[in-house]
């Protein structure tokens, strides 16, 4: 179980995360939502220890996350964490050397499915292929907790749908995914739980089953939490038009 307790992070005095407490249970697929700057990326980096935190703690089965257990968490980021000058084959070799639980067969199957050229350096890939490869690495590391930070930014819809299907098909019951994305509608059927971040705070945490029972869609739930005003745009446009007339 991945537990985050009272996490707080500040950037130059500004609070990026405030009192974040969260538990990710084995086998969960969790969507992490929030507007730009809400703290999604910071939260993931804090879990991995890639950024310092001011208070709070992150534990994995009760033990703080350190190099000793970091292999149990993988990270796919839209910034990419692969080695651009290596081929997928080289990556496989590197990962096998560093992650004893690396899933070679899954790696081979996924690179074949997405038709990634194995003998080409990753830097020569298209942005879509780079994203695919980034996610493949995270999925094959052999981690129990897979964090994905907007991994499909730049991929076309067909590609993304393929990925959701593949993910649903290959994940083992104990593998947990925390997926940050803006593509609410697309992943609604894929996730089991949705967490909403706003201005560094958790403003919503709900099972998608509960939403279904309440007859709500994920989008409407998010809008409700965010107190989204549908007439906001028309009001602004009217105001602008009024100014122009004056």
């Amino acid at each position: 179980m991945l537990e985050i307790k009272n996490l707080e992070k500040r950037y130059h005095g500004v609070r990026a995360l405030e009192g974040i407490s969260l538990t990710l249970r084995p086998g969960e697929i969790v969507g992490l939502f929030g507007e730009n700057g809400a703290g999604k990326t910071t939260l993931m980096k804090s879990i991995l220890g890639l950024t310092s935190i001011h208070s709070g703690e992150v534990t994995l089965d009760g033990v703080p996350v350190t190099n000793k257990n970091i292999a149990r968490i993988s990270f796919a980021t839209c910034e990419h964490s692969f080695f651009p000058s290596l081929t997928p084959e080289d990556h496989k070799e590197f990962y096998q050397a560093h992650f004893p639980a690396f899933k070679s067969r899954r790696f081979d199957a996924l690179t074949e499915f997405f038709e990634l050229p194995l003998n080409r350096k990753v830097k020569t890939y298209s942005s879509g292929q780079k994203n695919q490869f980034e996610v493949i690495l995270a999925l094959c590391q052999g981690a129990d907790y897979i964090l994905m930070d907007e991994p499909f930014a730049g991929n076309d819809i067909f590609n993304r749908e393929d990925f959701y299907k593949v993910l649903s098909g290959i994940l083992e019951p104990t593998e947990t995914i925390l997926l940050s994305t803006h593509l609410l509608e697309e992943i609604e059927d894929f996730i089991g739980r949705a967490i909403l971040l706003r201005k560094g705070k958790i403003t919503g945490d709900i099972e998608t089953m509960t939403l279904m029972e309440e007859g709500k869609s994920l989008v409407s739930y998010v809008k409700e939490i965010y107190q989204y005003q549908p007439d906001r745009v028309s009001k602004s446009l009217s105001a602008l038009a009024g100014e122009d007339q004056q």
């Binding site: 991995l48 220890g49 890639l50 980021t77 910034e79 651009p84 290596l86």
Partner: protein
């Protein structure tokens, strides 16, 4: 060997990309250190010109004396000093390399082996730094030995048995002078 060297560099840097310029630098520095001998022969020639020659034997004047080893040594090892400084730059480059084209720094920081990143950033610079120190010591001792053996005893300056006191200053020209 190639495999091991590869593991001491940031992932993606080919060993030959770094080994080649470093080797050129080391050889260049070793060659530049030969400037000691230019100073030496220049100094010796000056003394010879002031000396009298009778029956293929030189009679040096009473005031004829070779420059001290430290004076002749001058900055002849400066090439190694430059390499040492460039190794600091190389270490920084190795770290920043993990930000080029991706943020592979995230991957490196999240490895079970906490020393992997440090090892790949610092190994080569530190090894080259140590090699530079070793070469400077070996060459200095070699040159000093030859200086003592090749210079006629009567031309050796007084106190030449303790030239290392002044030598250190010359090795660090920016600090010493």
């Amino acid at each position: 060997m190639k495999r091991k060297l590869k593991d001491l560099l940031p992932v993606g840097i080919r060993p030959q990309e770094e080994v080649k310029p470093i080797l050129i630098g080391l050889i260049g520095s070793a060659l530049f250190s030969q400037s000691f001998w230019f100073s030496y022969f220049e100094n010796y020639n000056r003394i010879i010109q002031m000396s009298e020659r009778q029956n293929q034997v030189y009679y040096y004047g009473q005031s004829a004396v070779m420059n001290s080893f430290a004076e002749l040594f001058g900055h002849c090892m400066i090439g190694f000093l430059l390499i040492a400084v460039s190794m600091l730059v190389l270490a920084v480059f190795h770290y920043l390399y993990h930000y080029q084209g991706s943020k592979s720094i995230y991957r490196m920081k999240c490895l079970p082996d906490r020393w992997e990143l440090l090892r790949r950033c610092l190994s080569i610079p530190v090894l080259v730094l140590l090699l530079c120190v070793l070469l400077v010591l070996v060459l200095t001792l070699l040159y000093y030995g030859i200086y003592l053996l090749a210079t006629p005893r009567e031309l050796l300056p007084p106190g030449s048995e303790h030239p290392l006191q002044n030598l250190f200053k010359n090795l660090l020209p920016f600090l010493g002078h």
